[in-house]
Amino acid sequence: MIEVRELKKYFPVKIGVFKRPIYLKAVDGVSFSVDRAKTLALVGESGSGKTTVGRTVIRLYEPTSGEILFKGENISTMSREEFKSVRTKMQMIYQNPYSSLNPRLTVFKSVAEPLVEHSCAGVRSRVYELLDAVGLSVEHANKYPDELSGGQCQRVAIARALALQPEFLVLDEPTSALDVSVQAQVLNLLIDVQKEKEISYLFISHDLSVVRYLSDRVAIMYLGKIVEIGFTDDIFDDPLHPYTKMLLDSIPVPSPGRKRGRLHIPLGEVASPLNPPTGCKFHPRCPFREKQCVEEEPDLIEVGRGRLVRCHFVTQREV
């Protein structure tokens, strides 16, 4: 469905008045693909570049370099005009449902807007159909966003995104502003919608338990690069990159007994993307670091079925 090759997005940052801008390498050579009706999750901590990837893929940000193929067509070089028709097939759902809906439009108008914009026929019945698909009833149609709960707003945002029958959705932390009981409703809705309409998802999240629930494959990002990618079950059952292990070890698990007796304690914090470490970007926090890691950046190397890892140590082990 969608394939991204060596995608880069640099932001110029000016420090001081006369200094030349330095570049913040938010996304630095990321490649992945998402199959039809499948979900790829992008996981990482703040500053890893996961949101920038999501926005660049649908050209909310113009890519600095790299290719984005949507159903085989390179959309990164298209003109704005050409891109317009493709863009209807790619939609985005944001973290905060209150700020992604226009507070002055009723639910009906919000969902109808994209249909009217693209002069579709049968707007009224289509809107009710969409509201029904996301579990909202007719009585919600005339309400304003501030009269709805967070979960209901997110359903409206999903209905709106589905209006033009997209084939690809970027979900940027769609449930992190919601309470757990509501989160479960929205997650199940996303799964059902995907099954029924065969939509591909790029699911951006920092919550690994939600990622396991929703995704088929996972890419772990660290300072603008993918450090590990593979099938969800493989990664969760046998994480290979030290950073993936650290992330999985850090999640508080809702089953008591692990208290005060842990194997690994994560060390340090993410370095500034403006001044990334040399060699392997993860080396300052890595418990297995060796001289090679400081000097030389490892490549993303295939180590198993659809499994790629960026680590000197893992590749050596596999060889």
């Binding site: 901590e45 757990v180 199940n188 396991r212 850090s250 809702p254 842990r262």
Partner: protein, 320 residues
């Protein structure tokens, strides 16, 4: 068990332009000496209002009834002067967002010295020594650099460590931590939680940990209270809460967390949290409850000890 803090029948109403919001509906809970007690609940359940009532920092439009006894003394009868003495020196607080809890215009050292000198008559030099050892306590390497930094020069995790050091500075016997790691990345969260536990073991203070994350509770707390729409619906030692949850809401909460070790279809709880302007009659959970009986609509169930140290407020267990 030595009871450090005891809350009984705490009601808090807020006067709003839309009417009276009945935010706390008779909260009962005890925090024991030297334990970590977790308060868990979703948005609007009253967990933060509970902590604000303890410190008496509720806004003007709040009307409070009930009893909050701390170390044998009734806090609701204290004068403002007496409360000021208690805040910080006996009970201190760590907030969710360390970015907004520190003043951006002053260096960390100045802010910490202010806290110490507001309560203790010590000189600047002496205060500075105290601060340096506190910063070492919270595992900040190079305390002298931290002292002369402005908040924006520190990372989120470092700022939260500074906040913890400030909370500790007057050796309180109760620390209220309101979502202390919610704004942090998971790997940093793990470090901050470990730090709180380590210091708790070292100094023996009690912790009231407010969170929405059952994972955090499972890994840090000794006992936990579950709140729903202004009521404490269940209190239990953590092993019991996870192995044998009794209240229908607790069970629902546990079944909606995605499991990190596998894919199992979640069974979401229908409906949403009620408006506290017009809360449901009887048990406030009844409109969403699978085990609804007639009595649930009429009478509010009482929090009863159904087995040793396991309290639940539900008519299924005879809470009348």
């Amino acid at each position: 068990m030595n009871v450090k803090l005891s809350i009984r029948d705490l009601f808090v109403d807020f006067a709003t332009p839309l009417g009276v919001a009945k935010v706390l509906n008779g909260v009962n809970l005890d925090v024991y000496q030297g334990e970590v007690f977790g308060v868990v609940g979703e948005t609007g359940c009253g967990k933060s209002v509970t902590s604000m009532s303890i410190l008496r920092v509720l806004p003007q439009n709040a009307y409070v009834r009930g009893s909050i006894v701390f170390e044998g003394e009734e806090l609701l009868e204290k004068t403002e002067e007496e409360m000021r003495e208690i805040r910080g020196s006996k009970i201190s607080m760590v907030f969710q967002d360390p970015m907004t809890s520190l003043n951006p215009l002053f260096k960390i050292g100045e802010q910490m010295i202010d806290v110490v000198r507001a309560h203790r008559s010590v000189g600047k030099r002496e205060a500075l020594d105290m601060i340096s050892s506190l910063l070492a306590d919270v595992r900040l390497s190079d305390p002298s650099r931290i002292v002369s930094s402005y908040p924006h020069e520190l990372s989120g995790g470092m700022k939260q460590r500074v906040m913890i050091a400030m909370a500790l500075s007057l050796k309180p016997s109760l620390i209220i931590a309101d979502e202390p790691t919610t704004a942090l990345d998971v790997t940093v969260q793990r470090q901050v939680l470990d730090l709180i536990l380590e210091l708790q073991e070292k100094y023996g203070f009690s912790v009231l940990l407010i969170t929405h994350d059952l994972g955090v509770v499972a890994e840090t707390c000794d006992r936990v209270g579950i709140m729903y729409a202004g009521d404490v619906v269940e209190i239990a030692p953590i092993e019991k809460l996870f192995s044998n949850p009794l209240h229908p809401y607790t069970r629902a909460l546990l079944s909606v967390i995605p499991d990190i070790s596998g894919k199992k279809r979640l069974t979401p709880l229908g409906g949403s949290v009620p408006s506290l302007l017009h809360p449901p009659t009887g048990c406030r959970f009844h409109p969403r409850c699978r085990f609804l009986k007639d009595v649930c609509r009429q009478d509010k169930p009482i929090l009863l000890e159904v087995e040793d140290e396991h309290f639940v407020s539900c008519h299924l267990y005879g809470g009348r």
